[in-house]
Each structure stands twice: as C-alpha cells, then as structure tokens.
Symmetry: C2
Subunit: 126 residues, 2 copies
C-alpha cells in the first residue's frame, strides 16, 4: 500500500495521526506491527512494551475520550533501507486548551506496508 | 568496536550514558554519527535536527554543569539488521533531587561501530 519511499513513510505517519485524532482504535491497530517488541511512550509516562500492552494503552486513551485536534509541524523523515522514522511536533488543541509534544515515530517496511514499531512522545514545556 | 549484536548495541548505549553522566563532550561527540539527519529531543523541548544543532544542544547542557547521576532501568533492546534502538527509563539523581525520563536511543551500525542517530527523551510525571 505505502511504497518504500519517503512519501510512503509520510503517508503511514499521516495515517497514524488520523487514527489518533479520530480516536479510531481499529485504524490505530492496523497502523502497528503486532510484535512482542514494539514500544510506545505517551507524554509523561514510562514506555510500554509489546503489542498487548501498547494496544491496551491506546484503548484506554481512546476510551477516556476528548480527542484533541492535532496539528503536525516540524515534520522530518529519515529512511535507512526498510527502517524509517518521522520526527514531529504535535500541537494539540482541545476545548480551548493548547499544548505540544515532541514525538518520534518508528516504522518498518514489510509485506508492502510501513508498520509502526515505535512511538515515543514527550510533553514540550512552553 | 561494538559487534553487530544486542550486546554490542547495549555497549554503545552504555557508552552514551557514561558520556552523559560524566559531562564528557568529546566522548559524546564520538558516540554520534555526524550526519545532517540525526535528531535529538531533550525533556520538555522540541527536537533539534542535524549534527551541528544536536552537538550544540549537548555542549550547552554540559556547560550548564550539575551532571546528575543516571540510573538506567527498564532497558529493552531491538535490532533490525544494521538498525537498533534501546528504550530505557533514566532515573536522575542530582543534589538530593530525583526525577525520571523515558528515552529511546536509535543507533545505526556502520564501519564496525554502532553510531547514535537519534535520542528522544521525555520527562516522566511522578
């Protein structure tokens, strides 16, 4: 689906943020590799590890509702063979409140897809 | 120096934290690939990009002094060919104060070395 190129990698990254913004758990699940060694760090928290725990962390976030609008800036993409990562600033807008996080999203190309294998986000202090 | 294995990758990660803990800028410089696309996010800040800016960010941190003691926990390593990453919790102790950060360190194996190509850290909220 997403070709092995910067454009394909950026498209996979956009799909991730679309799922996040819409609070779409099924789409989020399709974004990730369901591996034992995927990792995810939400702002302010320690990393969780392995698909069961990563998946559960997203389920709880989506369940809590109040999906913010997310404006991505400072997007930078790096590709090394079948691995790639995208660094972004996530600008969050929710109910008149704003905030920002810095994130890096790690992807692996396999079976003609860029699959997310890592997401690491930290709050930016204004 | 560091063989292409999990052990070699963990050794490179340990060298990074040794340089950080000692505030050793020369050792920190040797840890990194001096590429235009390396990235680094310090806790609370947006990412910086490219070796000149990444290098400068470390110089300023080391210049400010007060190097904390760093106890690494929750260390997890993933390797995909010549790419690898290590997720950790950084437990920081400085002058009786403690804090923690979640980090992912991204390395690329080339010229018989694991070179750091990314460091992304975010504060953990107690």
């Amino acid at each position: 689906m997403h070709q092995i190129s910067d454009d394909g990698l950026l498209a996979a990254n956009a799909t991730f943020y679309d799922a996040l913004e819409r609070g779409d758990f099924e789409s989020m699940k399709r974004t990730w590799a369901h591996d034992g060694d995927v990792m995810c760090a939400h702002p302010g928290r320690v990393s969780v590890w392995g698909w069961p725990d990563v998946s559960e962390s997203w389920r709880l976030i989506f369940e809590s509702g109040g999906n913010p609008q997310i404006i991505i800036t400072d997007e930078r993409v790096v590709r090394r063979g079948s691995m790639g990562w995208v660094t972004v600033t996530e600008n969050l807008i929710s109910g008149g409140h704003t905030g920002a996080a810095s994130a890096v999203n790690l992807f692996e190309y396999r079976d003609d897809h860029w699959m997310m294998v890592g997401h690491h986000a930290g709050a930016v202090i204004a």
